[in-house]
């Protein structure tokens, strides 16, 4: 079973709404404790990325409940300028703006799966996933 939730990103308030909404949805699918904060933080980073570089875009949350795998898929999509060098943008400390340059690489570290597709002049799509894990599985 899957369900999808769309959220437009166009202002600073939308960043707050996105992470709040993401946290609620993550809780609904079975995340708890620090995982909720981790998901909300990653959402905050990519929502801010949309706002800073593309000014507007969309975040789509999909809850995945397939038997043993439960999790949340977060897709951030914009039709902004795109990223000329994705590998460079994914390096720590790289930022053309006022953040710490940890936005995208930071979000990648917080989530289990992370993919970025970008085309100059067409926009950027970030897809990230986090799976609910049992306590015992998380100790590594």
């Amino acid at each position: 079973m899957e369900d999808e939730h769309h959220l437009r990103i166009g202002s600073e308030h939308d960043i707050l709404t996105a992470r709040q909404r993401g946290r609620e949805l993550a809780a609904a699918v079975g995340f708890s404790g620090s995982d909720l904060t981790i998901v909300a933080t990653a959402i905050s980073e990519i929502a801010r990325n949309i706002l800073e570089y593309a000014r507007e875009g969309e975040i789509v949350f999909t809850l995945v409940r397939n038997g043993p795998s439960q999790g949340i898929v977060v897709v951030a999509r914009d039709e902004g300028p795109g990223i000329p060098d994705v590998a460079l943008a994914m390096q720590d400390g790289y930022s053309t703006r006022r953040s710490l340059g940890l936005g995208l690489p930071g979000a990648r570290r917080l989530m289990d799966e992370f993919d970025i597709q970008s085309e100059v002049g067409r926009g950027t799509t970030v897809t990230m996933k986090k799976w609910v894990q049992s306590r015992s599985a998380r100790v590594s």
């Binding site: 620090s34 981790i38 940890l102 930071g106 570290r109």
Partner: protein, 122 residues
């Protein structure tokens, strides 16, 4: 909504609520820098107990705020980081290097008093 700043003796205290926008944080930075001078404050405590998420922009703003304060003669202590927020910060790769932190307001005040007595005394 502006983040209120309380004055307690030589110190200023600001509490960050859960839903602060970037603009609120930037304004706090400006307000604190100004008030440190106007009120001749020697220390600033930023209480983040209510903050559910601290992303890179928030941390960057707090670091800048602490460094601006220092240049104006006031020490900054950040108190009340929730354990799960601290955990997420470490995973994100965020550090609060060079800024004092405390568990709560009480500890923040104790840290400021300690810093002050060591600078006044020596």
């Amino acid at each position: 909504m502006a983040i209120p700043i309380l004055k307690l003796g030589d110190y200023l205290i600001a509490s960050i609520q859960s839903a602060v926008t970037d603009a609120d944080l930037t304004r706090l930075q400006d307000d604190l820098a100004r008030q440190v001078g106007e009120l001749r404050s020697r220390g600033v405590i930023v209480d983040v107990t209510a903050a559910e998420v601290m992303d890179s922009f928030t941390i960057r703003t707090l670091l800048d705020l602490a460094h601006i304060g220092k240049l104006r003669g006031a020490e900054t202590v950040i108190v009340g980081l929730k354990p799960e927020v601290a955990f997420a910060m470490v995973q994100l790769g965020l550090r609060l290097d060079g800024v004092a932190t405390g568990l709560d307001l009480e500890e923040g005040l104790a840290i400021l008093r300690r810093v002050r007595s060591s600078t006044d005394g020596g």
